[in-house]
């Protein structure tokens, strides 16, 4: 599916991955998140050759965090959901509570702490999932269309959180999105994936002003037009 | 959600604890682990069904302080348990089989401790008209008239005796079993076989003890009760520890001594007198009774 991907993401950068549906964005993200294995090739994360050192994978995974496209909440309270990744990392109890409540506030969900996470709406679940990922203070944060289910207000809030996290903690962000405007806002680097191939990769100014005959021109043009249309309607 | 789970879990655990403490021990209070402090014997069903063993068991346990485990099994499986060392002794009533068992080295010694007689029992109406005949002639007539007969069919002492009678009457046993639906092989203990005979209004061969114990409920009567071939001797055999690993001959010996002691021999003689008006067993204190 994915072919000849050669990608380098700088530490602290925000890398936004765009492309048509089915291009393989989620697949690529999952490989970067050590959830799936690439058929061939090398993968170095945080300086570690993870393919050749499988015993270090857990350690590396614990320095990252992933938010799924349709996130699933565990069947317990919102607070306990957030607590789980910290418990897995053997963080002391008192600290867990403080950090969890703090992150809930950052995503605007502090009133939901005691609620059963299963009873949340799609957008609320998304925010909890993001909080759950952020609470671990990951060095690398991978997000699969994190604001897809959110209303513009909440989406904006999340973007703010992500931007702040990237800035203050130097967190490396790797994110897929369908929203080109979002890509333009947040990205330090944009990658365009089409039919399994990374056809373009560079700063937003470069990618969003493609040469007329470049392969992504149609995609970018089409996408921009579509989004303008949606805004008008 | 959490509550349901917690309740269930605690219910389960407390049930386990209670049951473990209360039930896993035997009703006489000893621990499950100490299988070594127990004497295991396998006894023929006809001895068990009369209730004699239950009565002896309590007395033995109290007097000797050894836990007695009694397995209810036909002679065939009882001897097999003995060969395997799963029991320390057997109490059965098939002389020829027992002697072979000892000749093969599995048992130490054959100690007869009680005897009685087999009887051919059947419905009061005696449909085959065999009353007063000798056992051999009675069997002959049953065969000829094809009247319903229930056999133990389980290689027990009673079954062995039945086969001996057929042989004495001049029959090939295989021929008998194949001869028709009148001959039923029950594959059960003596008590259940008597019940089956009552249900089907058929004849059967039984030891007098079990028959009397079940007489009231089955309504069967004695049809043929004399003939030397009907002698039924119960013997106790301790398993030979030299041949069978783990057999506790020491404790078995204590039980033998108990069984042939004057007191218990008297007890055996008295057993059943009150309820049935006659002894179910005649003690013979280690000596082979003659007819």
């Amino acid at each position: 599916m994915l072919q000849d991907i050669s990608l380098q993401v700088e530490s602290g950068d925000s890398f936004l991955l765009i492309g048509p549906t089915g291009a393989g964005k989620t697949t690529l993200l999952r490989i970067l998140g050590l959830l799936d294995k690439p058929v061939t090739g090398d993968l170095h994360i945080l300086g570690v050759d993870v393919i050749r050192s499988p015993d270090r994978q857990l350690e590396i995974r614990r320095r990252m965090a992933f938010v799924q496209q349709k996130p699933v909440a565990f069947s317990c309270s919102v607070l306990e959901n957030i607590a789980y990744p910290l418990r897995w990392r053997k963080v002391p109890k008192q600290e867990i509570k403080t950090r969890a409540l703090d992150i809930l506030e950052q995503v605007g969900m502090q009133d939901f702490a005691g609620r059963s996470a299963r009873t949340l709406s799609g957008g609320e679940t998304q925010r909890v999932a993001i909080a759950r990922a952020l609470v671990t203070r990951p060095e690398i944060l991978l997000l699969d269309e994190p604001t897809a289910n959110l209303d513009p207000n909440s989406a904006g809030k999340i973007e703010d959180v992500l931007a702040r996290v990237a800035r203050e903690r130097q967190t490396t962000l790797v994110m897929t999105t369908h929203d080109l405007a979002q890509a333009r806002r947040l990205a330090g680097t944009v990658g365009v994936l089409m039919a399994g191939k990374l056809v373009e990769c560079g700063p937003p100014e470069q990618v969003f002003n493609p040469q007329a005959d470049s392969p992504i021109a149609r995609f970018i043009g089409f996408k921009l037009a579509e989004q303008d249309f949606n805004r008008m309607v | 959600m959490k509550n349901v789970k917690t309740i269930l879990l605690s219910l389960l655990l407390s049930a386990a604890v209670i049951a473990g403490v209360a039930g896993c021990g035997s009703s006489d209070g000893s621990s499950i682990i100490q299988a070594q402090d127990r004497l295991r014997i396998a006894t023929t069903t006809s001895l068990y069904d009369t209730g004699l063993w239950n009565a002896l068991e309590d007395r033995f346990e109290q007097e000797q302080g050894i836990r007695l485990d009694i397995l209810y099994a036909g002679t065939g499986i009882a001897l097999e348990y003995g060969r395997r060392g799963d029991v320390d002794a057997v109490a059965v009533h098939a002389k020829a089989t027992e002697e072979q068992f000892i000749a093969d080295g599995y048992g130490i010694e054959r100690v007869p401790f009680a005897y009685n007689y087999f009887v051919i029992v059947g419905p009061e109406s005696d449909p085959a008209g065999i009353k007063g005949l000798s056992p051999e002639d009675a069997f002959k007539k049953l065969y000829e008239t094809q009247t319903a007969f229930i056999s133990r069919g389980d290689e027990s002492g009673t079954h062995t005796k039945e086969k001996a009678i057929w042989k004495a009457a001049g029959f090939d046993y295989e021929a008998v079993t194949d001869s028709g639906a009148w001959y039923v092989e029950a594959g059960k203990g003596m008590g259940p076989t008597l019940q089956m005979a009552a249900e089907m209004e058929a004849y059967t061969l039984s030891d007098i003890g079990t028959f009397l114990a079940y007489k009231a409920e089955t309504g069967l009567v004695t049809i043929v009760d004399s003939g030397s071939i009907l002698l039924n001797v119960y013997s106790f055999i301790a398993i030979n520890p030299d041949k069978v690993e783990g057999a506790d001959a020491e404790k078995a010996q204590i039980l033998v001594d108990f069984l042939v002691s004057d007191e218990i021999q008297q007890f055996i003689e008295d057993y059943g007198k009150a309820d049935y008006g006659t002894s179910l067993f005649t003690p013979c204190a280690g000596n082979e009774p003659t007819s």
Partner: protein
């Protein structure tokens, strides 16, 4: 008909007066089956989780085999255990024949395939994203396994209770391996078997009632669990 009625009356009498023999047999039944069930759970929870989360060649075959053993005849398992633990057998030196301990082992062996298969099913019915989410948030395999069991807790508890149901109601193995010894290895099912064959219908009925009550309780609890489970899913 009057025999049945007499039997029922005597049965109730035995129950209400807490007849010691009946009570002893009941508690022994519960003790043995609950212990077997707990041992099985301790084996099946980690093992089921491991099997579910590991992909290996022949996994489908393994699960099929486990499911085939769900309803293995109890006498067959009893025979196997008898042969293994008889003095003449490989484990004979343990001297466990005709003891409650061996009955516990035997019932555990009987119940493990059922519990294992149902637990694997329970985990398989979980949303696949759950495990992924756990891993992606830094859970080790062990931690993800525990989470999965927690997420599937209703189905898992159901599996354990069904295992218990099978243990408490079986007679073949208990008979062969326990010997139905009065005061030591006699349990509800083997006692019913013996007393019926000896013609003591009343005692059999009393014991039967108790077994029935236990089965009813199990079924009610299972029913409640199913209810809670389906409401929790929404």
């Amino acid at each position: 008909m009057s025999e049945l009625w007499q039997g029922i009356l005597r049965a109730l009498e035995l129950l209400v007066t807490f007849d010691p023999e009946v009570m002893a047999v009941t508690f022994r039944s519960l003790g043995i089956s609950v212990t077997a069930c707990i041992i099985s759970a301790l084996v099946c929870l980690p093992l089921g989780s491991l099997i579910h989360f590991t992909s290996f060649r022949g996994k489908h075959l393994l699960v099929s085999i486990i499911q085939t053993f769900y309803s293995l005849p109890t006498v067959l398992v009893g025979l196997l255990v008898f042969i293994l633990f008889s003095r003449a057998g490989p484990f004979g030196d343990l001297g466990l024949m005709f003891t409650p301990t061996l009955m516990v082992i035997g019932q555990a062996l009987l119940v493990i395939p059922l519990m294992l298969g149902l637990i694997i099913s329970a985990l398989a019915s979980l949303d696949k994203t759950v495990a992924d989410t756990a891993f992606s948030l830094g859970a080790s395999r062990f931690q993800a396994g525990i989470l999965a069991l927690k997420e599937a807790r209703y189905a898992v508890v159901t599996a354990v209770i069904m295992g218990f149901g099978r243990a408490i109601s079986e007679v073949g193995l208990a008979m062969m391996v326990g010997g139905n010894i009065r005061g030591f290895t006699r349990i509800l099912t083997t006692a019913i078997s013996l007393e019926t064959s000896k013609g003591d219908i009343e005692l059999s009925l009393a014991l039967g009632f108790i077994l029935l009550i236990i089965s009813l309780v199990i079924n009610v609890v299972l029913g409640r669990l199913q209810q809670v489970r389906s409401s929790a899913a929404h």
